[in-house]
C-alpha cells in the first residue's frame, strides 16, 4: 500500500483516563477502587490505544486516601488484566531479541508494572479564576496550584501530586514507545 506523503500521523497515541476521586462512586468506604463501568471503559479502550489512568483532583484527597485509591486502582488494573503499560516491556523485548524466553519477558513486565511505574499518577489542576497566563505564555507562579486557607497545593511540587512525573513520562520518556507501537 502506498501511503500519501502529505498525511500526518493523526492517530491517537495515548489516552489519559481521568478518574475523579471526589465522585461518590469511589467513596472512601467502598472496598474497591474502580467500579464496573470504569473497568468496562478501560478494557474496551485498552484494545485500541494505550490508556494511562490519571487520578485528578489530588488536592481534595488526604495522603491516606490518595495512597489507598492508588493502590486500589492498581490492584484493579492487575486483577482485570488490563495491559495498560505493557508497551514498555514489549518494546524492550522487541528491541533486543524478538523471540527470547517468554517467561523472562513476562516476569519483567510484572516487575515494570509492579514497582517501577505506580499507576495511576495523581494530578491537580490549578484554579483559573483570575488571569492565568502572562504575556509570554508561561504560567504565573501563583497559578500552578490551588491555594486553600490552610496552605497551597502546588501542581509542580512532586510531594503534592505526580504532575511533573506524568509530564516527563508521557511527553519525554514514553513518547517514542507510545508512537512506536501499532494501535491494533
Amino acid at each position: 500500500m502506498q501511503r500519501s506523503q502529505k498525511h500526518l500521523d493523526t492517530h491517537i497515541h495515548c489516552a489519559l483516563y481521568m478518574i475523579d476521586p471526589t465522585s461518590a462512586h469511589y467513596h472512601y468506604s467502598l472496598p474497591y477502587g474502580l467500579d464496573a463501568l470504569d473497568i468496562h471503559i478501560l478494557t474496551r479502550l485498552s484494545r485500541i490505544t494505550t490508556v494511562i489512568p490519571v487520578l485528578s483532583k489530588a488536592d481534595t484527597c488526604t495522603n491516606a486516601r490518595l495512597n489507598t485509591l492508588k493502590s486500589l486502582i492498581s490492584q484493579n488494573i492487575r486483577q482485570h488484566n488490563l495491559r495498560l503499560t505493557s508497551f514498555l516491556s514489549e518494546q524492550d523485548s522487541y528491541s533486543e531479541d524478538d523471540e527470547m524466553e517468554q517467561d523472562e519477558t513476562s516476569s519483567q513486565e510484572d516487575m515494570d508494572t509492579g514497582d517501577d511505574i505506580a499507576l495511576p499518577l495523581s494530578v491537580l489542576s490549578p484554579d483559573y479564576s483570575g488571569e492565568f497566563m502572562t504575556s509570554d505564555g508561561k504560567a504565573n507562579a501563583d497559578t500552578t496550584g490551588r491555594s486553600y486557607p490552610w496552605g497551597f497545593a502546588d501542581a509542580l511540587n512532586p510531594n503534592h501530586c505526580d504532575y511533573v512525573k506524568l509530564r516527563e513520562l508521557v511527553f519525554v520518556d514514553w513518547r517514542r514507545e507510545l508512537k512506536g507501537i501499532p494501535a491494533f
Binding site: M1, Q2, R3, S4, Q5, K6, H7, L8, D9, T10, H11, I12, H13, C14, A15, L16, Y17, M18, I19, D20, S23, H25, D35, L37, H40, I41, R44, L45, I48, T49, V54, S56, K57, V123, S125, P126, Y128, F132, M133, D136, G137, K138, A139, T143, T144, A155, L156, Y163, V164, R167, E168, V170, F171, V172, R175, L178, K179, A183, F184
Partner: protein, 340 residues
Amino acid sequence: MSLQHQQGWPLSPPERPQQQHRPQHHTHRLHHNDHHHRTNTTSSTSGGTTNNNRAPDLRHSSSGASGSSNSGGIAGGGGTRPVSGSALKGLFGRRSKSQQYQDVPHKPIDPQAPRLPKVYLSPPASPELLAQATVPAGSMNGRSTSSPPSRHYGTSNYTASSKAASVASTVVPPMPPLSDSTSQRNPNRHSVTSTAASLSPRMRRRRRDPTPFNILVIGFLGSGKTSFIRFLTASLGDSKRIRNVSQLANEEAAEGNVEEDLTLPPHKTNGFVKHYLEKEVDGERVGLTIFDSEGFGPREQNIVDLQLTLLINFITGKFEETFAEVAPRTCPRCILMTSA
C-alpha cells in the same frame, strides 16, 4: 461564441475517444447534442462539434509538432553542423567525426518549438534535480512519514529511498506539453509524489513539520479533563527537557491547524476539542495535539456504552485517516466501515 466555447470545453475530453472512433456518425452527433442542452440554437451545435474536434486536433498537432520539432531539430542540427563544426574547429582545433556527432544532441533546438519538458527526458543527468530529490528524502528519514516505496526507518534507507526517488522520476511517462503547467497539481499522480521536483510548496512545507504526537483525554463528566488540559498547555514548557518554541510560531502553527480542522466534515470533530501546540522535546520539534473529549455521561451502562462506541469510532477514524491511501476527507466509507 466564446461563451459556448467555454461551456463546451470541459465536456469534450471524456468524449474524445468516441469522436476518434467514429467522428462522422450521425446518431452519435445527435446524442451528443443532447448533452449540450444549455445551448439551444443551431450555431451552438456547430460550436460544440468544433470544440470536440478541437481536443484531438490539439493533441495531434502538439504531438506532431513535438515529433516534427525533434526531427526538425536534428535535421536543423545536421544542416547547421558544418558551420558550427567549422567554428568549433576554429576554436578548439580538429575533432573527430564521432565527437562532432556527440555534439549534435546538445545543440539548442528551436526554442519556439514545443518540446517535452527536460525533467522527464533526463532526470538523473541533471545534478540539481538529483540534489533536490535526495535532500527531502534524507530529511524525512527519522520521521514517521517515510517515502512510499520504502516504509522503513533508520539511516540505512537513506540511499535506498533517494535511489527509489530518482528511479521513480525516470519512470514517469512523458506528458504532453499542453498539460505541463497543470501536471504539478494533478491529483491522480501516484509515483510522482516521491520526486521533490513535482511537490507543491505546501507539501514541501509539510515535510519540515514537527513530529506529531496526539493525546486524547477522557473521563467522566467533571473529572477535571478540561482544566487539566488547560494547565498542561500552559505549563508544558516549564520542564527542563521540554522547551517552548517561540510563541509566534506556536500561534501560527495553531492557526494552520485550525484551518485544516475546518475542512474536516463536522461529524468527525463532534464532541472533541482540539488543542495544538508545538514544543521542543529533547531538541526534536513535536507537534502536540491534545483532544478534549466530552465526558462520559451519567453512570449508566447503556449511555456509557453509546459514548464509548462514539469514542472508539473517533480513535479508529483517526487511525485510518493516518493510513488512508487517498485523501480520507473525501471518503466517508472509512467511517461507515468502522461504525459497522
